[in-house]
């Protein structure tokens, strides 16, 4: 059935992350769906807006709260051919964040001598609205 589905259609999936990490499990369990979805050869992208932008802040250290730091997984997304991470500029600004505060997340471009290219695109609210309106499936977490 899964094989049939893969052969029939290629859809665009956007995973929309609006919540801070660790306070709730949504960020982590969203990432688990994203990783699985990579196996289905669909067109996958992620959006980070509202408090979701905190998921990408660098230097996360969870030793003190006894939980697993899952932020390194974002850096591995390129290996799963997930290369489109949209981050909303207005959400960053409201929270006193800049692109400097975010982890560096890259993918290797095979067709360009494996050059490392950035996966994160900072976009305006209006641009993000346009991208969301082009998706087949939107999953908010």
């Amino acid at each position: 059935m899964a094989d049939d589905a893969q052969q029939q259609v290629k859809k665009s999936f956007m995973y929309v992350n609006r919540k801070a990490p660790y306070g709730t499990i949504y960020a982590l369990e969203a990432l688990e769906v994203v990783l699985i979805s990579a196996a289905f050869e669909q067109d996958v992208s992620l959006a980070f807006l509202d408090d979701g932008v905190f998921q990408l802040v660098k230097g996360q250290n969870t030793a003190g709260i006894g939980m697993k730091n899952f932020s390194p997984t974002f850096k591995a997304l390129g290996d799963y051919e997930i290369r489109q991470l949209y981050v909303e500029r207005e959400s960053l600004e409201e929270r006193g964040l800049t692109s400097e505060d975010l982890m560096e997340i890259t993918w290797e471009d095979e067709e360009d001598d494996y050059a490392k290219k950035p996966s994160i695109r900072i976009v305006s609210r209006m641009e993000l609205t346009e991208v969301m309106a082009q998706q087949d499936v939107l999953l908010n977490f």
Partner: protein, 102 residues
């Protein structure tokens, strides 16, 4: 006779944090925990409100939660004090009552 107010929600996501600030008395303390720590970030749209609250109330941030979210002492508004879980316990015992703004 002062109150310790704990806030575990981001002020950008929920009204609980603002509601807590709206119900403070001078001399009360506010402790940010869990996702609430993101409200301590300096330069945010919320920082001004928190800085005014800091004039009459003591502001604390749970350091382990702040570190988990990639932040440290230099990232928070001036006047916010970092505490660990032991410090959280001390805040509970040295205030008359605790109100959790869930």
């Amino acid at each position: 006779m002062s109150t310790l107010h704990t806030v575990n929600k981001s002020p950008f996501e929920r009204s609980a944090f603002s509601s807590a600030l709206n119900h403070l008395k001078p001399g009360d303390a506010v402790l940010m925990i869990e996702d609430g720590v993101v409200g301590a970030r300096k330069g945010s749209a919320f920082a001004g409100l928190l800085e005014s609250a800091a004039k009459s109330c003591a502001i604390y941030v749970l350091e382990p939660d702040l570190a988990a979210r990639g932040m440290g002492e230099t990232d928070v508004i001036q006047g916010a004090n970092l505490v660990d879980y032991g410090g959280f316990v001390d805040l509970v015992t040295t205030h008359q009552r605790t109100q959790a703004w869930l």
